[in-house]
Amino acid sequence: MEKRVVLKNCGVIDPGDIASYLTRDGFRALEKALTGPNSQQVIDDVKASGLRGRGGAGFPCGLKWELAAKAEGAEKYVICNADEGEVGTFKDRYILENDPFSLIEGIAIAGYAIGAKKAFIYLRAEYHFLLNLVKNAIAQSKKKGFLDHLDIEVREGAGAYVCGEESALMDSIEGKRGEVRYRPPFPPTSGLWGKPTIINNVETLTNIPRIILNGAEWFGKMGTEKSKGTKVFSVSGDVAKPGVYELVLGSPLRELVEDLAKAERVKAVQIGGATGRIIPYAMIDTPLSFESVLGAGAITVFDESRDIIDIVGKTMRFLAEESCGKCAPCREGTEVMAETMERLARGEGVEKDIKVLEELSETMMLCSLCGLGQAAPIPVVDSLEHFRGEYENRIQQS
């Protein structure tokens, strides 16, 4: 069953008019935060809620905020990652176009919590059509006096998948090529221009007003032990009803794919975009949570007519194109994987391909600089585990 917490205003309010947001408890959470005991209380509430990052990595949000709040320096930044580039993900677009005000309120609370005076929303180039809507929402919030403590600026990306990765995103805001940084230091101590910075996903920040207003205890009642709250999913592929669905964390994959999105004859589901896990239909009751599988909530469904080897080949080609090229394991590894998979799909595979793919997967997972390269082999590894017969048959027929 759908549970609309993050999406509670979507389709209900007018995203172009703050008045309609104010009638739905709009900015009451910010008011509660600002008139509360202190900013530490806000951080304590977010920590107690158990909220984890919704962009894919699942880092505890309150902990991130606390690190930035305690970091030395007068100049600090909040960044909202609206560079939703993961293949099959469009839930942040949906939030931005239907309820930009909840996001702005979340950013305003985050700014107060860590002591930042400046925030950036990094909007992907593909969402340029939302720029005016978001700017208008910021202007209206400012006019009403909700942003006296924080200046929010929208920065546009220019087309680069890797810029959704937080360190590449910061380089891009700094006006550079979006290349991944070595860590540590991590952004809460040394982020944008070397200053303490928190980077949160659109959905993560949209959760904040709900948590502050209704309390950490209310939030913690939803979900599993390590995955509190709800998750907004983007469902596409072989389904009758593609779209955005919000479910309590821990809900079974079957509910989302079959009951809500009306998929039939499912062969496999990829969860988390290009570098996401591939789940065969036999495991359709897998719970959706950080403990099992989740990512940023991209759900791509493949029915029985699909060729897994072809699908993984296309995915690897995408990753090879979008690798930033800074580290060799990712730059070269994704290219070799793409070439091998494409060769297999054409029926030109050889016996040792499987072994090469497995060895390369291990190297990339261990040695790549960022999450892109570390996670890139996942579709290969998973398809080899669950659909190994298809690989072997294809090689035999070659």
């Binding site: 580039g85 293949v87 993900t89 469009f90 006006g175 493949f302 699908i311 296309k314 194109e321």
Partner: protein
Amino acid sequence: MKKAGQNGGKLLVLLEAAQAKSAHISTETITELAESLDLSIGEVYGVASFYSFLHTKPKGRHVIRICKSLPCLLKNAQTIIDSVRQELGIKPGETTADGKFSFELTNCIGACDKAPAMMVNSDVHGNLTPKKIAKILKAYK
């Protein structure tokens, strides 16, 4: 001489503005930006060439980008690619002789719920069928 990161984040914003004005980023623009921001030409070109939405070569007045990521491919994006190709007589990566359209393939544009989808400039068009293509393209003068 400075490094790109020392320009207060202005370089990418200025490159985006330059492109919005004249559809691509010319060699002259790169030289001018390098001088005014005290950066090397290589540094500015490096940023301009990194991003797929920035063009260092002239493009058509309208840029068509068809999504070639999996969710769109599953919904027959290839037939859309074929019909644009047929309609305009050019392949992906090319520009029509009259300079009106450039045709590109792109990665996920976040419109998978309306797959197959494409962008024409900043406009997103979804639930495409080969039949709709001619009509959509006609609207761009």
